[in-house]
């Protein structure tokens, strides 16, 4: 079994050595193959021209809805807002009960309990509650604070934790510190799934994104996630494609499968379908499920629903025929 992106000697099982010291980890991460930005962007753009019609479109739209982490992360969030979002996630299209439910409701930690209870009341217990944590979105807090933040969220019922990495430490080259932080947060998660947010817009280079991907996966991330949605550049097709290649290579090297979550800026059904094409042609069937791929989004859902209505009725509806929550 070969390792497409891993350094030449990084066969299965040998990766534990690379986290024994800061120097070893740096050598490993900097030894990953480089990324040619022009080529990566050209590949993502080429896959963006796939023409997804009729049955394929219907499949993709329903799959995309089922992969949404329906998100509200505002200072102005209230229990009422969160309950309303939960109702939307449980019954996305009141006029068509065949529309699938979303994968999760994504909120700040103090709203996790509200979301958990609201979903239970709605009979939608299979929808997970995802809570951001670790001083989201900047991550600028002391480690005990980040861990307490995580434990609070889990105690409040969060099934999934979306943590942010310390970009400052990463950019300063303190990779082992970032690694240890992810490991500690993972331990604090207990049974909850851990998504690790890189904030690709702040890492800035594709080489950094590939390194962050391997770093997080080595530290035990269940999912790697592009961004917080709070900076200028969030998920893009190229940076997501790069992370898809990283999880593919990581599974080839270690046997462990990791999920991917692009977040921020994906607003239209057309965009969502393009991301699913990236997954399909890079990873195939094994990742085409909400267990392994998610969209972090809020307004995307309504556009998917409008496209879904168009496919079933043959007519375009309008924003008055989907609910505002």
């Amino acid at each position: 079994m070969s390792t497409d992106a891993a350094p030449r000697d990084a066969g299965r099982g040998s990766l534990s050595d690379v986290v024994t010291s800061d120097a070893a980890l740096r050598r490993f991460l900097q030894g990953l193959p480089g990324v040619d930005a022009v080529g990566l962007e050209a590949r993502a753009a080429a896959l963006g021209t796939r023409s997804i019609k009729t049955t394929a479109k219907a499949y993709a739209i329903d799959l995309a809805i089922s992969m949404i982490d329906l998100t509200t992360l505002e200072g102005a969030d209230t229990p009422g807002k969160v309950r309303s979002l939960c109702a939307k996630g449980a019954n996305p299209d009141p006029g068509d009960r065949s529309a699938p439910r979303v994968a999760a409701i994504c909120v700040y930690p103090d709203m996790a309990r509200v979301a958990k209870e609201a979903l239970a009341e709605l009979g939608a217990g299979e929808i997970n509650v995802a809570s951001v944590a670790t001083a989201f979105p900047a991550g600028r807090a002391a480690m005990p604070v980040k861990l307490a933040d995580t434990r609070e969220a889990v105690a409040a019922g969060a099934d999934e934790i979306d943590m942010v990495i310390d970009r400052g430490a990463f950019l300063a080259g303190r990779y082992l510190q970032v690694f240890e932080e992810i490991r500690e947060v993972k331990a604090a998660c207990g049974g909850a799934h851990l998504k690790v947010i890189f904030e690709n817009g702040e890492l800035a280079t594709y080489d950094n994104i590939r390194r962050a991907s391997w770093l997080a996966m080595l530290a035990g991330a269940d999912f790697i996630k592009t961004s917080t949605g709070k900076v200028g550049v969030n998920a893009t097709p190229p940076n997501t494609l790069l992370m898809l290649e990283a999880v593919r290579d990581f599974r080839a090297a270690t046997g462990r499968q990791v999920g991917v979550k692009p977040a921020g800026g994906i607003r239209t059904a057309k965009d969502a379908v393009k991301y699913l094409v990236l997954v399909n042609e890079t990873l195939g069937d094994d990742w085409l499920s909400p267990d392994w791929f998610r969209f972090g989004a809020s307004s995307l859902l309504n556009d998917l629903l409008m496209q879904r209505q168009k496919l079933s009725t043959g007519r375009y509806s309008g924003p008055d025929y989907v609910t505002v929550d």
Binding site: D4, P33, V35, V38, R43, T49, K53, A56, Y59, D285
Partner: protein, 494 residues
């Protein structure tokens, strides 16, 4: 007419998706109206061949007859050359800015009609609509725009202070990029004030005839562009015509040598763009995922029917296994089939003759001991098809490492050091293209200097632009097309 793929599994299989299967997404044929027959375009008019002969042109993906086209013989060629000669005086006397207006107009009409032309080209050639739509047609328009810009600046192009056009240009083009090769030839010839007789390839005459219609639409003066359809004999008559001042040919090295012999001893100017056996050199520090894309684009773009195709992969031995695993995984996702489907990556081979040649060389590769592999793929029952094919264990002595296959067949060789890579890359009678994949900038510069190839791409492959000169060394021909250099072939100085 179908070469069935061998369906041995890759060592690390990545099955094409079953969950997310793309529904057919065919581009509509209704946007193009192909007449049942076409004449020759001479002196601004379509006319029948003098001897009344015709030939059929087929859609290679289905073997359906698309149209009947006039077969031009020596008399027709003579009429076309006369028309071009007659038009030359007035055309070359026009101020450059006036000639530019016609070229800009042609470029805009091509853009406006690009969907129609893309579908036409896909039907007649067999290449995927994705390529005609996203590569051929945008480049065709770009060439006309680019050379339109030069028409009034020729005195500043570095070809002497008062450059003059040569006269009548005889242009013979191949079937792999019919309209794009026409643009490469016609745009610089017209910008510099020459008139043109163009002979499109026998199997792909239609887009040139549609171009003739565009010339009329643009109000181009009669006789400035003449199009004579036919076969090799037509082309031979054209290049041998005594009243031709310039011959430009793109095609096989065998025919190119014949043309050079014909032209020898005359005062005709000659440029030749011939075959190639391009080396795509992948170093161990290459950006691997992008290198794999570049390998795929290098040899499977246009079914490998590209003179500058990266038909030899030279991979550093230390990364051979992982590059090949990644390449096979990627090839398993290639979509082979209906060229008009917008999701097709690999279309049909252009002709039965070409398919036979590819088949013969691939069989020679097996017979000589190289290992053959193709991804699992189902080929249509009708038309001319060849599955994407990779040969490993190829040595410099194998025919598939030396001869131009002009098909979707990649030969994989290995090297140990940069010097060995250069030696192997240059060890060919051809010298058209090469690719270098490495993260090390200094190595790119050093190798680009050492490789005897007209085009060297770094961390990319098969990238074209009208501003960039293109042409070969050695048996790949001489002269440059594109860029400022492309003007020189059509100008003489005081």
């Amino acid at each position: 007419m179908t070469e069935r793929a061998m369906t041995e599994q890759p060592s690390q299989p990545s099955q094409p998706s079953k969950l997310f299967a793309y529904a057919p997404a065919p581009e509509s044929r209704a946007v193009v109206d192909i007449a049942p027959s076409y004449g020759l375009f001479v002196d601004g008019e379509f006319r029948e061949a003098a001897a009344g002969k015709v030939f059929k042109t087929l859609a290679p993906a289905s073997e359906e007859v698309l149209s009947e086209v006039a077969y031009g013989d020596a008399d027709d060629v003579d009429a076309a050359v006369r028309a071009a000669r007659g038009a030359f005086g007035a055309w070359s006397a026009l101020p450059g800015a006036e000639r530019a207006k016609y070229l800009f107009r042609i470029a805009r009409i091509i853009q406006e009609r690009s969907r129609e032309l893309a579908v036409l080209e896909t039907l007649d050639n067999g290449k995927p609509i994705r390529e005609t739509r996203d590569a051929d047609l945008p480049l065709v328009a770009a060439h006309f725009f680019y050379y339109a810009g030069w028409a009034d600046k020729l005195a500043y192009a570095g070809c002497g202070p008062e450059p003059r056009p040569l006269g009548v240009a005889a242009q013979v083009i191949p079937w792999n990029f019919p309209l794009l090769m026409l643009a490469w030839k016609v745009a610089p010839a017209l910008a510099t004030g020459n008139t043109v007789v163009l002979k499109p390839a026998e199997t792909t005459p239609l887009s040139a005839l549609f171009f003739a219609d565009i010339c009329r639409q643009a109000g181009l003066p009669k006789g400035v562009v003449n199009i004579v359809t036919g076969d090799g004999a037509t082309g031979a008559a054209l290049v041998a015509h005594p009243d031709v001042n310039k011959v430009a040919f793109t095609g096989s090295t065998v025919v190119g040598k014949e043309i050079a012999r014909t032209v020898a001893g005359t005062d005709k100017r000659l440029t030749l763009e011939l075959g190639g056996k391009g080396a795509n050199i992948v170093f161990e520090d290459a950006p691997l995922d992008q290198a794999v894309e570049g390998i795929v684009g290098g040899i499977f773009f246009n079914q490998g029917q590209v003179c500058c195709a990266g038909s030899r992969l030279l991979v550093q031995e230390s990364v051979q296994e992982e590059v090949l695993d990644a390449l096979k995984r990627r090839l398993s996702t290639l979509r082979v089939g209906d060229p008009l489907d917008k999701n097709t990556d690999v279309g049909a081979i252009n002709s039965a003759e070409q398919l036979a040649r590819i088949t013969e060389l691939a069989e020679a590769g097996e017979a000589e001991g190289a290992q053959r592999w193709s991804p699992p793929c189902e080929l249509p029952g009708e038309g001319y098809w060849f599955a994407p094919t990779v040969f490993t264990g190829v040595s410099q002595a194998h025919r598939i490492a030396r001869e131009e296959i002009f098909g979707p067949v990649l030969s994989v060789l290995t090297f140990r050091t940069p010097d060995e890579a250069v030696a192997k890359a240059n060890n060919t009678p051809y010298g058209l293209s090469a690719g270098i994949w490495t993260e090390k900038g200094s190595r790119i510069l050093k190798l680009a200097d050492q490789l005897r190839a007209g085009v060297v791409w770094a961390n990319t492959f098969n990238k074209f632009d009208p501003t960039s000169p293109f042409g070969g060394y050695k048996e790949s021909g001489y002269g440059r097309e594109g860029g400022r250099h492309g003007l020189e072939a059509y100008l003489e100085h005081a």
